[in-house]
């Protein structure tokens, strides 16, 4: 269907010659009026949108220090120019982080800086790189700010820590505020706020799916493992991406969590009201929407009376949960005594555990305490490598020390597998490459940029496949999993290479009582 060429994988990455406008034709579907209106934005491009966009930019400049400082501070040194996976896959110079930022910065300079206004009066705004807000600029914004997965790789390398994600979020928020939103993100956010999850899975379907998974685990192990939902008085509320309820390989991860909870003897539950960990509001830079979505989880936690909140395998969801839940909804610790809003929840939660906690932290704790019975040899048919998901790697943490988000998932995998190898050091941990589908790009209308943006990860993968016969690429992000399942075949890899990290746990774990009934399948121990 798509008319484009999958980029050639190279053994050593090179910086190609620039190809101007190579991907200027790529922009996602525009949101329909109801998609925008459902989440509080004007339905269609408003009158005087040029002026209103500038006003919104001024509003954001007063609200976000990041935006203010980053728009002023760039010296065009070029350190970021070769760091973006979309640039490496497309050669389009506007996919260099500094050039992407300049699409916004040029307008900022024109309307908010002395230099820009001065040279515009002289008729030479170009001297300081200033531009008028007009249709051409808006179209460029719409294309190229939707060719950014907000993975923040450039922010690692910038001498001032300039984070293109912050700029791209601001640009998308400005576009939303004038009625020029992206269909994929906004439609999904509407569904989440109406039904509770991105997919619009209603309560009944959700419960039926979970019952199927319970059966599947019982068929496989002979042990009755429950996947509870809406259970009052459970100790743990699990918030997981809704892809875990239906997509491959996500569902194997969900069954993995269920087995771990079962083996640990922890009373846990899912929630139909908050059946989604993902918070696409971050992608569109909308603080108010992010708060609304986080508050669903807060409400579910209060209503169900849980003491702990654990988050499943999802990259940006973990960034939002770890970094922003406490801020936006008081889901965390350390609220002021007069902070009535946050106190209500924080009094209920058990602060001897991290809040929120990542499922890998939870599993790893059990492994360290020796509370899980893991048979590594059950994964002997696999050689596993791990893909650090961008938002986990560069926007969050696990455990108690910096960098725990790199070590803990690896510890979990190594406890479940005998064969583990890492990819090239330049492509993992904080220097990891985005899968190519993050930031609200995981939509069919952007398939070309998704495939091209995956190039650096595919090259690193190919090298360990060739050298170490790697068979499985484990990830802890729903978007990575969905993206790789689609993109791996373009590069000649089987789509089922991509694996949920907790699938490896699921396959290695020996449940209490597992195997005991083997001689007699129909044993009738029903209590």
């Amino acid at each position: 269907m798509a008319d484009f060429q999958t980029p050639q994988m190279k053994e050593f990455p090179i910086i190609p010659d620039l190809q101007n406008d190579a991907t200027s034709h790529l922009s996602p579907f525009i949101a329909k009026p109801n998609h925008n209106e459902d989440i509080g934005f004007p339905g269609e491009l408003v009158d005087n949108w040029e002026e209103k966009a500038i006003d919104k930019m001024g509003d954001l400049l007063g609200k976000y220090r990041s935006l203010r400082v980053y728009l002023d501070s760039c010296v065009k040194c070029g350190a970021c120019t070769d760091k973006c996976h979309y640039f490496q896959g497309t050669y389009d110079p506007k996919n260099m982080p500094v050039a992407r930022q300049d699409l916004l910065r040029s307008v900022y300079r024109r309307y908010f800086t002395f230099a820009g206004k001065f040279f515009a009066k002289l008729g030479m705004p170009g001297i300081v790189g200033a531009r008028e807000m007009n249709r051409e600029v808006l179209d460029e914004w719409y294309s190229y700010f939707h060719q950014c997965s907000q993975c923040r790789r450039c922010s690692v390398f910038c001498p001032y820590g300039i984070d293109t994600a912050e700029i791209s979020m601001a640009a998308r928020e400005i576009m939303d505020s004038i009625g020029h939103g992206q269909k994929y993100c906004n439609e999904i956010l509407g569904k989440l706020q109406k039904i509770g999850n991105n997919l619009g899975l209603p309560e009944k379907a959700l419960k039926a799916t979970l019952a199927e998974f319970e059966e599947e685990i019982e068929d496989e192990t002979g042990v009755e493992v429950r996947i509870p939902i809406d259970e009052q008085g459970a100790d743990v509320l699990l918030i997981t991406p809704s892809a875990d309820f239906f997509a491959e390989p996500h569902i194997d991860g969900l069954m993995g969590y269920a087995k771990v909870f079962h083996a640990a003897g922890v009373k846990w539950t899912l929630s139909t009201y908050a059946s989604e960990a993902a918070n696409f509001s971050m992608f569109i830079g909308s603080y108010s929407n992010m708060k609304v979505v986080a508050e669903r989880i807060r409400k579910a936690a209060i209503d169900l009376g849980v003491k702990r909140i654990i988050v499943g395998e999802c990259g940006h969801a973990w960034r939002v949960a770890y970094s922003f839940w406490n801020t936006t909804a008081g889901i965390g610790s350390g609220a002021d005594e007069n902070d009535v809003y946050a106190q209500q929840l924080q009094k209920q939660l058990d602060h001897s555990y991290p809040i929120p906690q990542h499922i890998c932290e939870f599993t790893n704790d059990l492994i360290e305490k020796g509370e899980l019975n893991l048979d590594k040899s059950r994964n002997d048919h696999r050689v596993v490598t791990f893909h650090d998901s961008c938002n986990v790697a560069r926007g969050s943490r696990m455990g108690t020390t910096p960098g725990g988000q790199f070590d803990i998932p690896r510890e979990v995998i190594k406890a479940c597998c005998n064969n583990y190898v890492d990819m090239e050091p330049e492509t993992i941990r904080e220097k990891t490459y985005c899968c190519g589908g993050g930031g609200g790009l995981l939509t069919d209308d952007l398939m070309e940029i998704r495939v091209k943006g995956a190039l650096p990860r595919m090259e690193a993968l190919k090298s360990v496949v060739d050298e170490h016969k790697v068979t499985n690429l484990a990830a802890i992000c729903a978007i990575c999993k969905a993206q790789f399942a689609k993109v791996l075949p373009y590069y000649g890899f089987p789509m089922d290479m991509i694996t949920s990290t907790h699938q490896l746990v699921k396959d290695a774990i020996i449940l209490p009582g597992e195997g005991e009934g083997n001689d007699d399948d129909q044993e009738e121990n029903e209590d």
């Binding site: 010659d17 609200k63 976000y64 220090r65 990041s66 203010r68 400082v69 002023d72 501070s73 010296v75 065009k76 040194c77 070029g78 350190a79 970021c80 260099m96 500094v98 300049d102 800086t113 002395f114 230099a115 170009g126 001297i127 300081v128 923040r152 690692v156 390398f157 910038c158 001498p159 001032y160 820590g161 984070d163 912050e166 603080y287 108010s288 708060k291 770890y322 970094s323 922003f324 406490n326 801020t327 936006t328 008081g330 965390g332 610790s333 350390g334 902070d339 809003y341 946050a342 809040i355 929120p356 560069r394 926007g395 969050s396 943490r397 910096p402 960098g403 988000q405 790199f406 904080e430």
Partner: protein, 242 residues
């Protein structure tokens, strides 16, 4: 008082006021703009002292730049360190007696001017010859490099080509600081040098040179990574809780 002395005296007062007020205004703006969300680029320190160390490594060693591009780091770091030495050396023109530390820096400062120009030359060459960097370069980026190079060359000119009456210059500068005006020597290199320095001071707060104060306010670098332990709410965002 000659016209020249009066003109330069006025120029320096103006430049100083614009520089101090301009930078002060921007620093105040950065400091008072809320940072509503915790966005440190991880792995990030989890304590304030850790943040101080991270920031110091960034400002003194250009750590992130070192990891991203060795050539830019070599030229950029060389230029900035040399500039720092040169500035330290220049303190001697503004004080009497001269601090011990400034005296110690003198022998290094004398040659730092060459390193400064070499660093700038390297950065400028990248702008011209590396396609990616040429693409992102605006005319103003060349102009600032030209300005800095011209300041360096004119400074070296009066040291190594045509000597300036440094005693008279110092008395002019000390005079400026006490509003008792002394005549300014009329050497070509000196007049160009001082003029360009004044221009640099004036454009500092309205140009990309703002990266100097900006780096200290960068949330990805100056925030401690402790969002689970502490609730972090900006004033405008706290309104939404009500």
């Amino acid at each position: 008082m000659s016209f020249l002395t009066g003109f330069y005296a006025l120029l320096f007062y103006t430049a100083t006021v614009l520089f101090v007020v301009g930078i002060g205004y921007k620093i105040r703006q950065y400091a008072t703009t809320p940072a509503p969300l915790k966005i440190p680029t991880t792995p990030a320190p989890i304590t304030t002292s850790g943040v101080v160390v991270r920031m110091a490594r960034e400002v003194v060693l250009f750590e992130s730049l070192f990891r991203s591009n060795r050539w830019i780091w070599v030229f950029g770091w060389m230029f900035h360190v040399a500039l720092a030495l040169v500035l330290v050396r220049h303190v001697r023109y503004f004080q009497d007696p001269v601090w011990e530390l400034i005296v110690l820096a003198q022998p290094f400062g004398k040659y730092a001017g060459f390193a400064m120009i070499a660093g700038l030359g390297g950065l400028w060459a990248r702008r011209i010859f590396v396609e990616r960097i040429r693409y992102i370069t605006n005319p103003s980026d060349h102009l600032i490099l030209a300005l800095l190079v011209a300041i360096g060359v004119s400074g070296l000119g009066m040291k190594y080509v045509a000597h300036t009456d440094i005693v008279a210059l110092k008395s002019f500068m000390l005079g400026l600081m006490t509003f008792s005006f002394k005549p300014l020597p009329t050497d070509g290199f000196l007049l160009i040098h001082l003029l360009l320095v004044a221009v640099l001071m004036i454009i500092f707060p309205i140009s990309k040179l703002l990266h100097a104060p900006g780096v200290f306010f960068s949330p990805t670098r100056n925030q401690a990574d402790n969002p689970r332990e502490k609730r972090h709410v900006a004033p405008w965002a706290a309104e939404l809780d009500k």
